[in-house]
Amino acid sequence: MMNRRDFVKSAAATGVALLGPRWLEAAPALAIARYKSSPAAPDGVAEEARRLTRAAIDALGGMGRFVSKGQTVWIKPNIGWDRRPEQAATTNPDVVATLVQMCYQAGAKRVLLSDNPCNSAQRTFPRSGIQQAAEKAGAQVFFMDERKFRKMALNGKILKEWPVYADVVEADVLINVPIAKHHSLTTVTLGMKNLMGAVGGTRERFHQNTELTLPDLAAFLKPKLIVLDAIRVLMGNGPVGGSLTDVKRKETIVAGADQVAVDAYGATLLGHKPQAIEHIVEAGRRGLGNINFEALSPKIIEV
């Protein structure tokens, strides 16, 4: 059976992407969905999350562009912290649940969902609301099993070999669903940093050269779709946060197939030029995507 990586290689070799349907050729690489209002009630925020997520994916050409019938999808939100959604340290649960629904609607056979959190998974999964929302939408949510991390050849500049969760690599499609946050070490945590939750090993090794290790990981995992939750944004004291005074509403969902472009736009939401964020610059330099997101003519949707 061809796994996701084989498919990516095969598609690149045969030019499948260029021979795809006409709508695919016309679809933008980046979509930015913004909510016109800022609801305060939990139900209102949930509605916002659902509508923005659908609008952003639809603007990219629909989930069918990324997920085909019978495929296994791995969804990777940020569930790293023992925090509630309003604290904006973890991905909005309704964004995640909407993506699960859209994957099944596109014909996915299975949607798997997990994260390798910093705090105990037994606390972070339910506290974030993601476990309940994703399971309700039909995803298989589980805590990572230590035995399933396999040392894999990343062949990166720093990371030559690293333990990666086997199921992530074996899935046909990887969808990365980070939340936009401040990060005291890497300035921002967006899509590429969120991929650290798909691997094992010691985090300190990553932290010694994040400008190189994060692109190493991004180059290896190559998520097919990135959906950045920027409805609530943690503007300071990240990645842990906690205090609601650090949270600002940005009412935005960014979606795209270009992980550098999504991160580059995400950086601007936190008040930074993407050119000032080392790992984004390095990833662009390596050809993992386009740091100049404006060049992709992002589709902007007001909801």
Binding site: R84, S184, R203
Partner: protein, 306 residues
């Protein structure tokens, strides 16, 4: 040979003891192994489970491996010379409380990391030397300790429990509940509330000024910053003054400041206008000073006794 045994034992023990490593950044890295005495010291500060039916998990201790618990946020704690921290989770009814107590070694370090994280917008409460609360967190500092509580409850019981825990931890820490003495030097008039910070590394981009404390001021609508760099003795403070004079002479210009005897006025495209002087073991900078800074400068100088 018998006389050598104690010496060899001492050397072996010294090798086995966790030494604090000096990082390239200048931050002292906490030891990889936490000494038993440090663990015991932190464990004594933990509150008891609150009442019958309440439970608490085994405490966990972190030092150099703090990144395993708080990822990249650990770097800021190491910058302020973290010694070790203890983490413990409690359950009482539907409330779940997490207690994190960081031993920062010195009160100035505890204030440094606390002030780096606080916001003037927080809701401040009586807790330790200073603290604040919101729906899910209660943070405070006292002495050398920075205490962070996190609480969740659907029935509203987390906040009262966090307050109760804070009171118990504060009692267990003991000693005075005052902010570091250097902060009293900053005049209150014109000071922006909760803008005081203490910086361990490269204040204003100058490594030689570390460590320093700063506060923001508003004079007639214009923002200024007062920085006080503390040295071991007056000779070092004077040396910093000379380094500053050299810096401004090279990057802009420097002249005597008439507003205060012994002060200088430097200007450069990077820092803008700065008045600086030394008193005792302190070097003082007033960045972006108001037009008439004489009274303010004299007040600061008069408050620096040593």
């Amino acid at each position: 040979m018998r006389k050598l045994i104690p010496l060899l034992l001492m050397l072996a023990l010294a090798g086995a003891l966790p030494a604090q490593e000096e990082e390239e950044s200048g931050a002292r890295r906490a030891p990889a192994q936490i000494p038993a005495a440090e663990k015991a010291k932190l464990a004594r500060l933990l509150p008891s489970p609150p009442g019958p039916g309440a439970t608490a998990e085994e405490p966990r201790f972190y030092a150099a491996d703090l990144y395993q618990y708080i990822d990249g946020a650990a770097e800021a704690f190491h910058m302020y010379d973290l010694v070790a921290m203890v983490h413990r989770e409690y359950k009482a009814g539907d409330a779940e409380i997490t207690v994190d107590i960081y031993d920062m070694g010195e009160p100035i370090n505890a204030f440094g990391i606390y002030s780096a994280e606080r916001s003037p917008e927080n809701r401040y409460i009586q807790a330790g030397a200073e603290g604040y609360i919101d729906e899910h967190v209660l943070n405070f500092l006292q002495g050398s300790f920075y205490v962070k509580l996190s609480g969740f409850s659907d029935k509203g019981s987390a906040q009262p429990l966090m307050r109760s825990f804070a009171g118990e931890i504060s009692k267990r820490i003991g000693g005075g509940a005052a902010l570091p003495a250097i902060l009293a030097v900053f005049p209150a008039s014109g000071r922006v509330a909760r803008s005081e910070k203490c910086v361990k590394r490269a204040p204003l981009g100058h490594e030689f000024l570390a460590p320093a404390c700063t506060a923001d001021y508003r004079f007639a609508g214009k923002q200024s910053s007062l920085l006080i760099s503390t040295s071991a003795d007056a000779a070092q403070a004077k040396k910093k003054l000379e380094l500053l004079k050299g810096y401004f002479a090279k990057s802009g210009k420097v002249a005597d400041e008439p507003a205060l005897s012994g002060a200088f006025h430097g200007s450069s495209s990077h820092e803008g206008e700065t008045i600086f002087f030394a008193r005792g073991r302190h070097t003082v900078l007033l960045v972006n000073p108001p037009a008439d800074a004489a009274a303010f400068l004299k007040e600061v100088a008069s408050r620096l006794k040593d």
